[in-house]
């Protein structure tokens, strides 16, 4: 395993963290949008409380992944920026609106009508951004973005739109959205302080847990036509069977834990389940960064840069990990556990 592989792995870890932490914050926005029933307002308050202290820190995982990508794999970053200009710009607008609307909503006025507008903006941006993020992942996985990818055609549409807009990429978008909503619902069962609210999110978690399976099957079926490399990796590679077995175990455990009310177990297992699916994607296209032809080694920066980046990572981790542990210890410990 080369130095470039290690750094690609680190970037993937950052993406993984963004998915299970930042993703859940987006999912919280989705549940804000779909808050229903007699406890509508309390559901929304719980989402806001849970996201408040941590969403900024969770968001930075994405920035970390981006800066590491352009430091360690500049040509790949340049290619992604060029071919995915449109969806990434839309993702950015979603991120801007989500983050500022959430802040304005919390620190905003006292009038219900105004608060309502921010709440709606926050919720809709939370719905659309994961869809688009998933779509860009689908575009990479489908092999459209490499040098010899399908993004090589003529004309605006076939270069700047075609690669990321097809049934497969959209199915990955839907999958990402459902996964984020699932994670948020599972986490919120643990955050909820009373039985009724917890039951609300338990029902949502179970529902999205089943929907997640459906979305995965749909994406896999579509991948046969649109992303054969990923599909073949996911089915025929040596690691495929154990990975699927672990994922299945995690998925079933998560649902069982939700069913039986083991909220803490459910939280951990759900995060593992989604992470395993993510790593399945990563492994299926290894050693290609941008299939079908740009490998990790092709796109890697000079060794001097990679070594330094690794050093900076070690240094950064020495500061960050204790700080993060502190943040989550202060805010994510349930009052019951403190008592």
């Amino acid at each position: 395993m080369s130095l470039a592989d290690v750094l690609a792995g680190v970037i993937f870890v950052a993406l993984n963290a963004y998915t299970v932490l930042g993703g859940a914050d987006f999912g919280g926005g989705v549940w804000d949008l779909f808050a229903t029933g007699p406890r509508k307002q309390r559901q929304r308050d719980l989402v806001a409380e849970a996201i408040g202290p941590v969403w900024e820190a969770n968001h930075v995982w994405l920035i970390l992944a981006v800066v590491l990508l352009f430091t360690c794999f500049p040509p790949a970053f340049a290619r992604l920026g060029t071919l995915l200009h449109i969806p990434l710009s839309l993702v950015l607008i979603g991120i801007v609106l989500r983050g500022s609307a959430f802040t304005f909503w919390r620190y905003g006025g006292t009038e219900d009508k105004e608060l309502h507008h921010w709440g709606v903006t926050f919720a809709i941006a939370s719905l659309i951004t994961p869809l688009l993020l998933g779509t860009t992942v689908g575009a990479i996985a489908s092999g459209a973005l490499g040098e010899g990818g399908s993004g090589k055609g003529e004309g605006f549409y076939s270069i700047y739109v075609g690669p990321w807009l097809n049934p497969f990429t959209l199915s990955v978008g839907v999958f990402a959205l459902v996964a984020f909503a699932f994670l948020a619902a599972v986490y919120l069962t643990l955050e909820a302080e009373d039985r009724e609210l917890r039951a609300d999110f338990r029902a949502r978690a179970l529902g999205t847990g089943v929907a997640l399976f459906g979305a995965a099957v749909l994406a896999l079926l579509l991948s046969a036509r649109y992303a054969p490399r990923v599909r073949n990796g996911l089915i025929f590679a040596g690691w495929a069977v154990p990975l699927h077995a672990f994922t299945a175990v995690a998925a079933i455990t998560a649902l069982a834990a939700l069913w039986r009310g083991a909220w803490r177990v459910a939280r951990v297992v759900a995060a593992i389940q989604v992470s395993l699916i993510l790593w399945g994607w990563g492994l299926s296209q290894y050693p290609y960064l941008l299939p079908p032809d740009v490998t990790i080694a092709d796109a890697a920066a000079p060794a001097a840069t990679l070594r330094l980046a690794l050093g900076a990572l070690a240094l950064g981790a020495a500061v960050l990990l204790p700080s993060l542990a502190y943040l989550f210890r202060v805010f994510k410990k349930r009052p019951a556990a403190l008592a």
């Binding site: 900024e56 500049p74 040509p75 200009h85 801007v96 609106l97 802040t103 620190y107 700080s323 502190y326």
Partner: protein, 453 residues
């Protein structure tokens, strides 16, 4: 609108928008920490109120700064893939370090904002200090990356490709120190004097208002020293560009002809067609003296390069003049305030000082924007000075006017809302009658319990 111009405009709008939040994000946590510390020492709730208000301000501005900074990190690839392909491996390092600093800032801001009742007073203040320090660090790292674009080092150019890349040498670009110092001071000066100016405005109407008096004190404490030091760091920066980026200096000073004992042009309109600066007040040998500390030094003019490698001389010259004029104003007002405080004058009752401060509210931010105009426009047509032209770095995607207009509208919308929220959340003075008693007429800064910790 040509695509290159649209891309440059979008990047310019994004940077101009983000820099305001970045600047406040560096300095406002310092004010918030000072206020909290004073609350802990004096026990007076007015300081707690101030700390909480500034924390809310930091929260609002940090959130917008975080998302607009995310936009910038993506835009490097969305608009300038040619730049990233060439430079990513060389200057990715300061961006990565900035990522970590920013991460630390986000973590401790979360702890600070939501931890009032959850952690000890000491830990809470510590979290505030961590926010202030990591905010300054992340600003410095980003400026280091920009400094490399102005004075690129740490690689060799062979056939248009960078070889022997040394990211550490790239971070040690000769522009790094003067630029980072100038920008960090600018952040404290601009924010401190802006906050002081706003409270001075309210004190003109109600000089006995204890809330505004305390706010003014702390804001001046943070802003005034930086404003006084800024001309010195400006001199360092100018001497640096005289040596390393002579064309930028020539454009800033509208010096068309290379000459020894070059004069300093104040104001004036650079007429590029006639290659002369009209209506300027000229100080003989002034530029040689300022740029090289030698009245007879030879200063390179624009004629040292072909005209197609000139930046836009009027834009750079006017921005530079504006920055220097506003910076001078801020330094003078800061010295004046310092002098009056030294003389134990009650600042809030000094109407002329309050007027001067109130008038100076936006000056720091305008100066910051103008200064970045000088840095960025003054480097054109290069994106990496002498190495890569901006037009060779832009994305091949057509129709860039669409994202430019979209992001401009988005930012205008956000800007209006942020101003409105800040007014409502921070500036409106609290309605707590007993706080009036905290102020004792005539003693100003000297009253018991309000000395700096």
């Amino acid at each position: 609108m040509p695509d290159l111009l649209a891309a440059r405009s979008q990047m310019g709008v994004s940077l101009a928008f983000h820099i305001v939040f970045a600047v406040v994000g560096i300095a406002m946590p310092v004010m918030m920490v000072v206020a909290e510390r004073r609350w802990q020492v004096t026990g007076h709730a007015i300081y707690l109120d101030l700390a909480k208000r500034w924390a809310r301000g930091t929260a609002i501005l940090f959130a917008v700064g975080a998302v607009s900074g995310t936009v910038l990190s993506f835009e490097l690839g969305l608009l300038w893939p040619g730049f990233m392909r060439f430079a990513g491996s060389i200057i990715g390092m300061p961006f990565s370090l900035e990522g970590f600093a920013f991460f630390t800032e986000a973590i401790f801001l979360g702890v600070y904002l939501y931890g009032w009742d959850r952690i000890s007073a000491r830990a809470h203040l510590g979290a505030g200090v961590a926010v202030a320090l990591s905010g300054a660090a992340s600003g410095i790292f980003v400026v280091i990356a920009n400094a490399w674009m102005n004075a690129p080092t740490g690689f060799q150019l062979v056939d248009g490709r960078a070889v022997n890349v040394d990211p550490v040498a790239a971070m040690a670009s000769p522009a790094a120190f003067p630029q980072a110092l100038h920008m960090t001071l600018a952040a404290y000066a601009a924010t401190g004097l802006a906050v002081a100016g706003i409270h001075a405005f309210f004190l003109l109407k109600d000089p006995a208002n204890a809330f505004h008096r305390r706010a003014l004190e702390i804001a001046l404490l943070v802003g005034a020293p930086a404003a006084v030091l800024q001309p010195i760091s400006g001199d360092m920066a100018a001497r640096h560009i005289a040596r390393y980026q002579p064309l930028k200096l020539a454009a800033a000073e509208a010096l068309f002809r290379t000459e020894s004992g070059a004069p300093l042009s104040l104001g004036g309109w650079p007429d590029v067609a006639r290659r002369e600066t009209r209506f300027a007040l000229e100080i003989p040998r002034g530029l040689s003296l300022l740029a090289f500390h030698d009245p007879n030094a030879r200063v390179q003019g624009l004629d040292a390069a072909p005209q197609d490698e000139w930046p836009s001389v009027p834009a750079v010259h006017l921005s530079f003049q504006l920055m220097v004029a506003l910076g001078t104003y801020m330094a003078l007002v800061a010295v004046w305030a310092g002098w009056l405080a030294w003389r134990r004058t009650d600042l809030a009752h000094h109407r002329w000082l309050m007027r001067a401060l109130a008038l100076g509210t936006p000056t720091g931010f305008i100066a910051v924007e103008a200064g970045w105009m000088v840095t960025e426009l003054g480097r054109q047509p290069w994106v990496i000075y002498g190495v890569l032209k901006t037009r060779d770095a832009v994305t091949p995607m057509p129709g860039l006017v669409v994202p430019f207009l979209t992001f401009t509208l988005l930012y205008c919308f956000l800007g209006v809302i942020v101003c409105w929220l800040l007014y409502r959340q921070i500036l409106r003075s609290p309605d707590v009658p007993e706080w009036r008693g905290f102020y004792m007429p005539g003693r100003g800064k000297r009253e018991k319990g309000s000395e700096a910790p």
